[in-house]
């Protein structure tokens, strides 16, 4: 789960990480009301869950209150990667002497939380990882001990020289780790962490993601969820036991298992088509799941044909076939459907489906080619 920058800043503040003052505004009127009359340098930032808002013009500087209102007018309602900007953060801008990056991630290789830091702040850390990997400091953290003071100090010493700043930065790192672990975060970044001319260390921009598997014990974090249009569809699917991600193509796919679902999308691409979605219906042969899945697929206006790819493992193909037939009975559509069944009891399953007159094929490759062919009619 992702949260907005303003929400990450609230969490930072709660854990004692210094953040410049700012106001969240949903309208120009709110900017007029909430922002103080004092003219000073401010930054107006679009609050969206997609990256690249700076490049899209969603971040603008303002020197006066009037200008802040002007800039908010420009940004509110703007479209960033298909998402309409509904709120802006109007924050105090600070003078910056130097920018840094600090972040925490779940590190697959270390099988631990790893602290990353770099003196190359303000740019995407992935960029630094590609161009100057030696400039990224990595410190895996022992989960039984947490981030120890000496570790935080060691990392801070590589970013700062002045002992006072080292202390400030190390404190921020320890607090960020505490926040990370206590909220079951999966990514916590301060980028940039800045040093101001009056030698204060401050968090200017923050990004936090959370482990979806741990949300059951994170009531406060769930309450922060503000799903955008794309996410809403995905959440709706999740609630029905489906895993769905909308893509841009025109061939809807319904598959059991995440790996097979990915391989199915790949196959469609391999044969020159474009998948409309990723959709994993899981292991059951429950007809309702197929109905729900079909409704989601057919709700996407781009979909021109549907490929159903099922491998019967523990669930038997004849059970799945009965579920499919029952489900397709309830769905009235002109969109052509191709079904591929394989695995346990495939023969029996195919016989059941053949009776319905729906096109059935034996292999994934055939199914993909047929679905592409039908989508072009």
């Amino acid at each position: 789960m992702k949260i907005h920058e303003y929400q990450a800043r609230d969490l930072f503040r709660k854990y004692g990480i210094p953040v410049p003052e700012g106001e969240l505004c949903h309208s120009v009127d709110e900017v007029k009301k909430k922002v103080s009359d004092k003219d000073k340098l401010r930054v107006v930032k679009a609050q969206v869950l997609v990256g690249g808002r700076g490049k899209a013009g969603g971040v603008k500087l303002a020197t006066t209150k009037a200008e802040a209102i002007e800039k908010a007018k420009l940004i509110l309602g703007m479209d960033i990667k298909g998402i309409t900007v509904e709120k802006v953060l109007v924050a105090d801008a600070v003078d910056i002497e130097k920018e840094f990056y600090v972040g925490l991630i779940n590190d697959r290789n270390a099988k631990a939380v790893t602290l990353m830091a770099s003196s190359e702040g303000g740019v995407e850390i992935e960029e630094v990882a590609k161009t100057n990997p030696e400039k990224i400091i990595k410190m895996p953290i022992d989960p039984t001990m947490g981030l120890m003071d000496w570790q935080a100090r060691k990392v801070a010493l590589q970013l700062f020289n002045d002992p006072k700043q080292v202390r400030q930065a190390a404190e921020i790192l320890v607090k960020l780790y505490k926040l990370y672990v206590e909220t079951d975060s999966s990514l916590a970044e301060i980028n940039p962490l800045v040093l101001t001319p009056d030698k204060q260390v401050l968090a200017i921009d923050g990004k936090m993601n959370f482990d979806d598997n741990a949300l059951f014990r994170q009531k406060e974090i769930i309450a922060m969820r503000e799903a955008d249009e794309n996410e809403k569809k995905e959440l709706e699917a999740n609630a029905k036991g489906l895993s769905y991600i909308k893509l841009d193509g025109n061939i809807g796919c319904m598959v059991n298992g995440a790996g097979l679902a990915m391989a199915t999308m790949d196959m469609i691409k391999l044969y020159g088509g474009e998948p409309a979605n990723f959709l994993d219906i899981g292991g059951s042969s429950n007809p309702q799941k197929v109905v729900d899945a079909m409704n989601i697929l057919l709700g996407d206006k781009n979909v021109k044909s549907v490929m159903i790819n099922i491998f019967g493992g523990i669930t038997r193909c004849d059970d799945v076939a009965r579920g499919l037939v029952a489900a397709l009975d309830q769905i009235k559509t002109d969109i052509p459907i191709v079904i591929r069944l394989s695995g346990t009891n495939a023969k029996e399953g195919l016989e059941i489906i053949e009776k319905t007159g729906l096109p059935v094929v034996k292999t994934m490759s055939e199914a993909a080619q047929k679905a592409i062919e039908l989508s072009q009619k």
């Binding site: 779940n106 290789n109 790996g259 493992g313």
Partner: protein, 290 residues
């Protein structure tokens, strides 16, 4: 020969009285797995499928000499179940449970190391040495004994590939589904090393997917350390960046962990990468000179 499990492996089931636990216990038993006990706190003395239930893993190990455990308990308790098995001296823990919080998995890692416990999963279909022992939820009937090893991050895709291998008369030594989570137990390299040392395994299939760099590391290991041929497939070549494709680990973050990079790494290590799963049996036969 095989890796990790064989006909002598004594298995206990943690969460044996639950719906999934009981169902798959009967399946495993029917396959011929030597299931010696189950755990369900407070239900000691009961039986499931004729298998004795114990209150703790420690009790089960004392009474049965179990050396492997399979976990079906709900996600919030799975981390603790792994710890309990590890402290009871179980050598191999297989965690089937999905949606286990990542921090819980991270916290068990130092304990596994200290107690020298091997973990498969979480969020995995388990593993099988065909004809001898099945631990997990794999459909036993599609496997057959033979000389090909298989490691996979996915469930149904594994079945798809195994089915093709079996249909092409390529039996398997041991197949391991390592699971799709971002932080999990045994990984490609650990298992490749075991296959390299297994006398019966002649070739290995690696089924990877987008996210992380386990495939790149596997490629490096194969190039430097392996004498046996390896064939690979990577799922998620068409996945958009930044989205979680069902598996928590299958997320591409700004250019890292893409299928393209993984394929390049495998090719550089002399490992052919199948364009679609149906090419895998042919590639294996080619490598084995069949």
């Amino acid at each position: 020969m095989s890796i990790l499990i064989n006909k002598d492996t004594k298995v206990i089931v943690q969460g044996i009285t639950g719906r999934d636990g009981a169902f798959h216990t009967s399946k495993m038993k029917a396959y011929g797995t030597n299931i010696v006990g189950g755990i369900s706190p407070g239900k000691a003395g009961q039986q499931v499928e004729g298998i004795p239930v114990f209150n703790t893993v420690e009790d089960a190990v004392k009474a049965t000499g179990a050396n492997a455990s399979v976990i079906f308990v709900p996600a919030p308790f799975a981390g603790d179940a792994i710890l309990e098995a590890s402290y009871a001296g179980i050598e191999l823990v297989v965690c089937i449970t999905e949606h286990v919080p990542v921090q819980d998995m991270i916290r068990v890692m130092p304990v596994l190391k200290k107690n020298d416990t091997k973990l498969v999963g979480a969020n995995c279909p388990g593993l099988i040495t065909p004809g001898e022992c099945l631990i997990g939820i794999l459909p036993g009937m599609i496997f057959k004994p033979g000389n090909v090893g298989l490691i996979s991050r996915s469930g149904t895709l594994t079945y798809e590939v195994v089915n093709m291998l079996t249909e092409n008369d390529l039996g398997q030594t041991t197949c391991v589904g390592i699971g799709g989570d971002s932080v999990s137990g045994l990984y490609f390299i650990d298992l490749l090393e075991m296959y390299e040392n297994d006398l019966k395994t002649d070739a290995v299939v690696v089924i990877g997917e987008i996210g992380g760099d386990a495939e790149e590391q596997a490629a490096k290991f194969i190039k430097e350390k392996m004498t046996k041929p390896v064939v690979a497939f990577i799922a998620g070549q068409s996945a958009p960046p930044g989205k979680r494709m069902g598996h928590a680990g299958a997320i591409i973050s700004s250019g890292a962990g893409t299928a393209e990079e993984k394929i390049k790494a495998f090719n550089a290590a002399g490992v052919p990468v199948a364009k679609e799963p149906s090419e895998i049996p042919g590639l294996i036969k080619e490598k084995l000179g069949l």
